[in-house]
């Protein structure tokens, strides 16, 4: 039941050549006569040879450096969970002579991101993983990478007209649609909805938020529902100002019973409403980050839509390693499941991690 594994030696014997020659055709690095190659290829196929990638990596003894560029993060937030997944997998790579270097930039400052990209243009590395937060910058950088033949993987979001090795992220449109569906379940006839948004969403990051929002609105249209939906524009920077904006708005619009935010910061809204006269407004948001979980548990937030950031980070790096070290391929687009998280299943969601 076991030792029917075919090795390079078996192939060599059966083809009447040496292991060296077999290796040459396996990695077609030339210098093999046509006859030999054809004979070897035939045997390879016939015996259904599968290389032992571990032995291969061991012998290869080549060093790899994978770069990761993500926004600065604090413990427990979305990016830190992606980073944890990356760090976790990086530990499985060290025995293959592969290491990872992580760069951070300021999520709302394109310049800080450009700086990192510029610095990277002076360095050499074998692969890179990053979220295309600022689309213009990322598009340009992707072009550089393609020109240099450096494989890159997107996480979190995607930009068209580029050629990443792979992509891990959520279908933003569908996640917005799903959020609308969930709100609808308990939406009464005269209930109104508030969408909380930042003043001028930096044009560059608009993509993902925009898609979620349009999925959300389309759900109602397509289902012939037309709840009143308010857009409440806040600064996202000035707490006092925001508190004032929100409270004066809600004072005028007494039918608002649901509030949603399409980034991961619904907890800020929850903090404003908590202990206010509007604490009965039910909130919904994105991402199972610690601060959101707090308000999920005290029922300020009714549900969260989540996307397994740890899994994203872990598998993005795994795909890169498979490509670089093991020469394996992976599916181009990996759409993460859109998870529905409420008070009753959040613990099971956060506590499971067979990988850590």
């Amino acid at each position: 039941m076991a030792n029917n594994r075919i090795t390079i030696k078996d192939i060599a014997q059966k083809a009447g050549v040496s292991k060296g020659t077999v290796d040459r055709v396996l990695h077609n690095r030339g210098e093999v006569s046509k006859e030999s190659r054809e004979r070897i290829e035939a045997v390879l196929k016939e015996m259904n040879y599968e290389p032992n990638v571990y032995a291969s990596a061991l012998a290869n003894n080549k060093e790899f450096l994978v770069i990761v560029v993500i926004p600065e993060c604090v413990k427990g937030d979305y990016w830190s969970k992606i980073e944890n997944g990356i760090i976790k997998f990086s530990q499985e790579m060290i025995h293959f002579n592969a290491s990872v270097r992580i760069f951070h930039f300021d999520q709302i400052d394109p310049d800080s991101c450009r700086k990192v990209f510029d610095e990277l243009k002076t360095e050499t590395f074998d692969g890179i993983i990053f979220p295309p937060v600022f689309s213009n910058l990322s598009h340009e950088f992707a072009g550089y990478l393609t020109a240099r033949n450096i494989p890159y993987i997107y996480i979190d979001s995607y930009i068209e007209d580029t050629n990443p090795l792979s992509y891990f992220g959520m279908d933003s449109y569908k996640s917005g649609w799903l959020a609308a569906r969930l709100i609808t379940i308990s939406l009464k006839k005269d209930h109104e909805i508030a969408i909380f948004r930042y003043s001028e969403p930096e044009e560059e990051v608009i993509n993902q938020i925009y898609k979620r929002c349009s999925g959300f609105r389309h759900f109602f249209e397509k289902n012939n529902l037309s709840p009143v939906i308010h857009d409440i524009i806040i600064t996202g920077r000035d707490e006092n100002a925001d508190r004032e904006i929100i409270s004066s708005y809600l004072k005028k619009e007494r039918n608002i019973r649901y509030g949603i935010m399409f980034n991961s910061r619904i907890h800020t809204i929850a903090a404003y409403l908590e202990n206010s006269e509007f604490s009965n407004i039910r909130l919904a948001g994105f991402d199972v980050i610690d601060s959101n979980v707090h308000y999920l548990k005290n029922e300020m937030v009714g549900f969260l839509i989540a996307q397994r950031p740890f899994t994203q980070g872990y598998f993005a790096l795994k795909v890169m390693a498979d490509h670089l070290i093991f020469r394996k391929t992976a599916p181009l687009r990996n759409l993460i499941p859109i998870d529905i998280i409420i008070k009753e299943n959040v613990d099971s969601y956060t506590s499971f991690n067979p990988l850590e």
Copy 2:
């Protein structure tokens, strides 16, 4: 940034011994003087040595056989997804000289399970994975395994007073609780609920179903809700009889608006109700299996509670491999997230699999 990896050779040099001696202390197989051992152990700790498990497995060249015992399954059902996860990981094991043999038994026939266990008692193997479906049988078999020092891992459910290496499954009580919570969201005052159950749930399998059911009922009690809950007992074997039982029951109880089943066969109920005068009854059930998904999409079923069977199978085998081949440990209890699946996120749920 890279080649600071410490090898056994480095340790040997620094401790002034040979690689062989270092290896002896690493796997404490004796025959080392106390002085040498202490010196080596000091160096090991000082240099923070991490063995290269891949090189180790390669050199070890030992064969492993892992047994898997699961119920017979058909494509697309719960057990087949567990089996897929197992098969997937087994492919990563072949290069470590480890193979997997899968045995099947009839889920509702304890004798067929006993037969497999008995047969296994005459075979030799290095580890085994199975769901303790029949608790008495499993308990006894676990005792045998413990006595023989063969590591075993439970999937799907757990039995007390045994010593498995690890366990992957859902917190059944909480999943029932969650189901009750979800139904409550849209439960109107005079709505009643039907629990569909098999006549005499085989005493042996009662455990998981029982826990789900009590979680379900407790939710209402603890929240001071007291919807009328009906128990509708069907045979589970005789289609015509069941159809008749259900329809006559529902004819008498016109307030029943929700139906739930605590195993994975809510699709059978959906099939009975579809195109009947009771097609407005909303159903809920467990497990994202193909037939359930069908009724989720046509809205006969409102939601499913799911538990990532592929993940269970995959990681159960991974933990076994880590134990056997790499001598790594794993957490004992791994409670899988309790996923909420509705029409709007089911596709994202089933289509994601970076592992396959």
